[in-house]
Amino acid sequence: MSTLTACNPASATQSRRIDYITPRANLHHDGEGYTLELEMPGVAKDGVEITVEDGKLTLTGRRAEEQSYGRPVYRERSQAEYRRVFDLDPSIDAGKITASMNQGLLTVRLQKSEAVKPRKITVA
């Protein structure tokens, strides 16, 4: 099945020479479409960029400018941008993709186009 399964193909990461980190993702599928959740802590709503091109869904998250908190004593958090690319299921209606950002969790809803949705047909 060519659904949102392959991610981060080599071509997707070569466009710019910036280090990216891959956000953790959960993907659910139901009859109507897909729900994709990505963890992007530190990214505000306006730092998110979602593009659909050549059958690929690209999600980028840029962290908001951090203020200076002084001398770092201990650091684990990365400052890199988040980026992840998925192959888009052709049955998805690219015009109907919606997304919301809530406390660093990006939720993307991908609806299937009407033509491929499962439907019940009543026998007359």
């Binding site: 659904t3 949102l4 399964t5 953790r24 993702a25 959960n26 993907l27 659910h28 599928h29 139901d30 009859g31 897909y34 729900t35 959740e37 963890e39 992007m40 802590p41 530190g42 990214v43 505000a44 908001a64 908190y69 002084g70 001398r71 770092p72 004593v73 201990y74 650091r75 684990e76 958090r77 990365s78 809530n102 406390q103 660093g104 969790l105």
Partner: protein
């Protein structure tokens, strides 16, 4: 050439039972690893940064997807502890999971602060999934200018 007593390989001593039991131990430990039914690790450790300047210590923790009500911040002596739970959203009916990389469940992170702080003036803010705890330094920890009279 010497004569060696024939031993049936199928019945060689008790060592084969030892091998069997060690195989069982191995299997048990494998099942223990995958033990919890949820399929997620029992707990996770959020990434954390600590900063320090003359006035304060700042601790920043990545908690994406955890709601404000689901974590606690406590300070005991010079140890700051952040604990809580990331709750999985209720599964939608009839949905199947294609990817589950996110961690859910409880977490605890403790960090020893680099200098003494004023426990009554600790502030916390939660934005974009990052918790920022600001801990003003205790007076005795702040750098002081001392006037030295030269004679």
């Amino acid at each position: 050439m010497s004569i060696i007593k024939y031993r049936n390989p199928e019945l060689t001593t008790w060592s084969s039972f030892d091998r069997l039991s060690s195989l069982r131990d191995l299997l048990d430990s494998a099942f223990q690893l995958a033990g919890n039914a949820s399929g997620f690790p029992e707990n996770w450790t959020p990434a954390l940064d600590v900063f320090e300047d003359e006035e304060k210590v700042t601790v920043r923790v990545e908690l994406a997807g955890v709601t404000k009500d689901d974590f606690d911040i406590s300070l005991q002596d010079d140890v700051l502890t952040i604990s809580g739970e990331r709750k999985a959203e209720a599964e939608q009916r009839g949905s199947e999971s294609f990817r589950s990389e996110r961690y859910f469940g409880t977490f605890t992170r403790s960090v020893t602060l680099p200098s003494p702080v004023k426990p009554d003036e600790v502030k916390a803010a939660y934005q974009d999934g990052v918790l920022t705890v600001t801990l003003p330094k205790a007076e005795e920890a702040k750098p002081r200018k001392i006037q030295v009279n030269l004679e």
